[in-house]
Symmetry: C2
Subunit: 369 residues, 2 copies
């Protein structure tokens, strides 16, 4: 696998080596287009290094991307269309936020019947500090028309999607409703963890849509269009929708579902008898996290975990509790999160055709020695 | 963990060392009472060495068991009650058969909501050649009364079961309907794989009830009673029943459900690109195995696997097919068995309170390199 560094930040030297070394540690799911999970040890940290990668198509040609010639075109229903170099974009404004991204297919291999699509286990989630320009500032500068109903983001990557009735060759494109596009935290991101974007994370420019499933965060971004009709592209209407039955309308995949994951001890770990700290992350895109509870050995008694201070309103939140690990042998640990809107992780997700949004409680099995 | 050898076979020297060495390799789930899974590499073989162990109570005292003083008492509704030494029993008749035993709780950790009970993953299944005296011969010698409706088997192990309303101290006991008790393959087993029973497999004598879940195969057997009313003991009526809702009568856990497991490649394995043989085992307690189908990458196309010659009418049957493992990356493999009675593995088992009988299709995730 090749995992190359991002573009040069206008005023800084490139930092390719650390990023390459990080990428080597990813858990590869598919080589081309490149899809890989955050490894278990990286999931134990607040910032995921390396961070999972989801790609629908191969990256656009590096020479075009890396020559400093990249432009963001802003058009459609705007009074003043823009063509911005990255330096011009960067001069507009600057905002950083720590964001947890999760692929809508994360946990798909645990769904039944096993849905098609990338066979993600539990590592298609990760957290990074993203820096860039709020999309809102660019839209304001372009003078968004009142006829606009959605903002379409188009990547420079393209290809033929899989599936019945798929179009032959399309760019990766997704739209946002106006309120989400105008949210101060929705970023035209130039930096990830203080460095230029790595290639597989969308260098040199990607959209970052916090609190939504990762599909909204269009990589290799080259065009923003204000559109006057809702977008009906393949990745908007044919995929990334909750499809239940043939005669039921689909629902769009948007906000991250309320979810938690235990990261320590990790699944399959051996731990010494006695006091063990159970740690993990919990998140919800719909509302603030309200609580995380932990249950040991399939008990009906759920113990409230302590929540760590928030990293950001857009990121997972740490939780922890202690467990007197006894006796020797196999034990099961479960965590379940609840958000302020009353969403709670289910024991089993509602089955849907493409296997999205599995936020069900996932037992971790550990061996006490 | 201590895994001791069985009693001496009347005419042979004991063979403790090999069995001890085998036992060391078991995957321990609980130390006391001892419960452990067949390790993955042993599951890849027709005969499981070591073989999983399920115990409800600790083994009865070794000194009593090993002194050659063990007696099987046959009583209740019989004209001629018997007290048999093992040498006398052995002189009655001899029958051997290869049997697949599976714990009713096998695969419980994959059920949702996670049921209580031993947290078995997929290794509470195994196959051995069992040798002994058909129970039928002993019942005939004891002259079974026509008033008998069930045959009760009582182990020398005893203790306090877990659960609401559990009795304080009971022996492990289970009953069989007459037809199953009189089946030629239902054995008073003295040997496992040609050697005396190891301690944790019920030395010196256990019942072996082929084609039923393992709970029927009472270990450390000391009493056989012909009874005139159906048995209502804890392990017959309060546990080892499919319990769905409070207002529905429970169903007894009896025949092994139709099931298959892929053993090669094993879950999580790395395999080289190109031709890969997918192998596994399939079984059903209700009818002969009819077919096993395999699906790769969550495809709806199921390919018929080749069935190996049967090991025995009471054992799992090998299946295999080839797969052109392409491209590099993660792939999912599934197998589903169907028996001659039309039972087919479901994608998801019907939830039941105690988590028994999980015969659902279990995807194996492999990494092609």
């Amino acid at each position: 696998m090749q995992f190359s560094a991002g573009m040069e930040k206008p005023s800084e030297a490139p930092k390719p080596r650390a990023v390459e070394a990080e990428g080597e540690r990813l858990v590869v799911v598919r080589e081309s287009p490149f899809n890989a999970e955050t490894p278990a040890d990286a999931l134990a940290e607040p910032i995921s290094r390396p961070h999972f990668v989801r790609s629908h198509f191969d990256p656009p040609p590096i020479d075009a991307t890396y020559a400093g010639e990249h432009r963001l075109r802003v058009g459609g229903a705007v009074a003043r269309p823009l063509v911005l170099s990255l330096a011009e974009l960067r001069a507009t404004a600057w905002h950083e936020t720590v964001v947890t991204l999760e692929c809508a297919g994360n946990g798909r291999t645990h769904m039944r019947p096993l849905p098609g699509g990338e066979p993600w286990m539990d590592g298609a989630v990760g957290t990074a500090r993203w820096g860039g320009v709020p999309l809102r500032h660019v839209l304001e500068r372009a003078m968004l028309s009142s006829s606009a109903v959605e903002i379409l983001a188009v990547g420079a990557d393209h290809g033929m999607p899989h599936g019945d009735g798929a179009p032959r060759d399309i760019p990766f494109a997704r739209s946002l409703p106006l309120d989400k596009a105008l949210d101060e935290d929705t970023l035209l991101a130039l930096e990830m963890n203080g460095a230029p974007l790595p290639l597989h994370h969308g260098a040199p420019l990607r959209l970052i849509v916090p609190r939504w499933f990762g599909v909204a965060s269009v990589k290799w971004l080259e065009r923003i269009d204000a559109i006057t009709e809702p977008f009906d592209g393949w990745f908007q209407e044919a995929r990334y929708v909750y499809s239940y039955t043939d005669d039921q309308p689909t629902q769009p995949v948007r906000e991250l579902r309320c979810k938690s994951m235990i990261v320590s001890p990790s699944d399959g770990a051996q731990v010494a008898r006695g006091r063990v700290e159970i740690r993990g992350w919990a998140w919800s895109g719909s509302a603030e996290l309200a609580s995380v509870e932990v249950s040991v050995d399939a008990s009906d008694r759920w113990q409230l975990a302590t929540l760590d201070p928030p990293l950001s309103p857009n990121a997972w939140r740490g939780f922890r509790c202690t467990w007197d690990a006894q006796p020797r042998g196999r034990h099961t640990l479960r965590a379940r999160a609840t958000d302020a809107a009353g969403n709670r992780q289910p024991d089993w997700p509602r089955n849907n055709r493409f296997g999205y949004g599995n936020n069900s409680v996932r037992p971790v099995v550990v061996d006490v020695r």
